[in-house]
């Protein structure tokens, strides 16, 4: 059995003025935790769970990008990867996870960078059981979301976890590598 130890759960009883944003963020965190726990039960293999989380994230990302674009109409098309990274951190992450990560560790060719999450609402009350500490990337859904979202704006990227504080590391670090620009596909029947 896999259990996640939920500690410091803030009870909403006793507070007359409910902070609605905080309450729904807890619900979100708990929902995500239940989902990962269920996936572990279903697949019994953390590597497979990582893949599933990435796939789910991809499906979310493909739609999330529209939500983002609709609510950030002033955001222009990015011409450089650095601009895109900046928008992802300062607008994307802020809009959907309420946190602004740092962008660091650029490769020399400027085609790779890291997203350092100083806080991760998905993992807020979570401790990994010992069976998963070396293999599960708990928040892997984020990688899928980034991959799906960027694909819809013509950027093919590889996204993966490098470190996670849940696994005992110093930081939570996601790596993004730019692969290529996706060209507009020709409509069927046109030459």
């Amino acid at each position: 059995q896999h259990y996640f130890i939920q500690s410091n759960l803030r009870m909403s009883r006793g507070r007359s003025n409910l902070d609605s944003k905080r309450v729904s963020s807890e619900l979100f965190t708990l929902t995500y935790g239940c989902m990962v726990a269920q996936l572990l039960k279903d697949y019994d293999n953390p590597d497979e769970v990582n893949k599933q989380l990435d796939k789910m994230g991809y499906n979310i990302g493909v739609r999330l990008i529209e939500d983002f674009l609709a609510h950030s109409p002033s955001t222009k098309r990015c011409t450089q990867l650095e601009e895109a990274a900046d928008v992802i951190a300062k607008q994307g992450f802020r809009m959907f996870l309420g946190t602004v990560p740092e962008i660091k560790n650029w490769s020399d060719a400027k085609d790779e960078f890291s997203i350092i999450l100083t806080e991760n609402p998905l993992a807020e009350f979570v401790e990994l059981p010992p069976t998963c500490t070396d293999s599960l990337w708990y928040s892997n859904i984020i990688c899928g979301v980034l991959r799906g979202a960027l694909e819809m704006i013509q950027m093919e990227v590889k996204v993966w976890f490098l470190q996670d504080t849940l696994r005992g590391s110093e930081t939570t670090e996601i790596r993004v590598k730019f692969v290529k620009i996706l060209e507009d596909s020709l409509p069927a029947g046109e030459d």
């Binding site: 493909v62 739609r63 990008i65 529209e66 939500d67 674009l69 609709a70 609510h71 109409p73 098309r77 819809m152 704006i153 013509q154 507009d184 596909s185 020709l186 409509p187 069927a188 029947g189 046109e190």
Partner: protein, 142 residues
Amino acid sequence: MIYNLYIFNPMGQCLYYGEWERSKAAAMSRDEEFKLVYGMLYSLKSFVSRITPAISDNFQCYETNKYKLSMYETPSGVKFVINTGLDWSSQAISEMLQSLYKEVYVEFVVRNPLVSLDSAIESELFKNKIEHFINTRIKEVS
């Protein structure tokens, strides 16, 4: 005057077609018309970006003596195409299409996991919302 509206996904499939006024019927089937419109837009976009004398955004509209075709394309490739009378300004149309994207498309299509983005949208709720949206705009102008 708003004549009709098309919504295309990035692959060129027509997700939605709505008609409010159309005194001249099309000379072809709906599917052929969708392909024709999309093909034209694709070619026009390509043409416009090739001969542009300055760095610019893309094709926005064309006008005849009777109607104006305007397009709003999101960075994700979703295209909103609307035929209006000449009484609509480009800015008003652009604002309207952006609102349509934000308030109707994202709300009732993107956020609904049961609605597919790969083929014609079947959600009645979405169709009602879009009709209401356009009808309100038509009333405001007249």
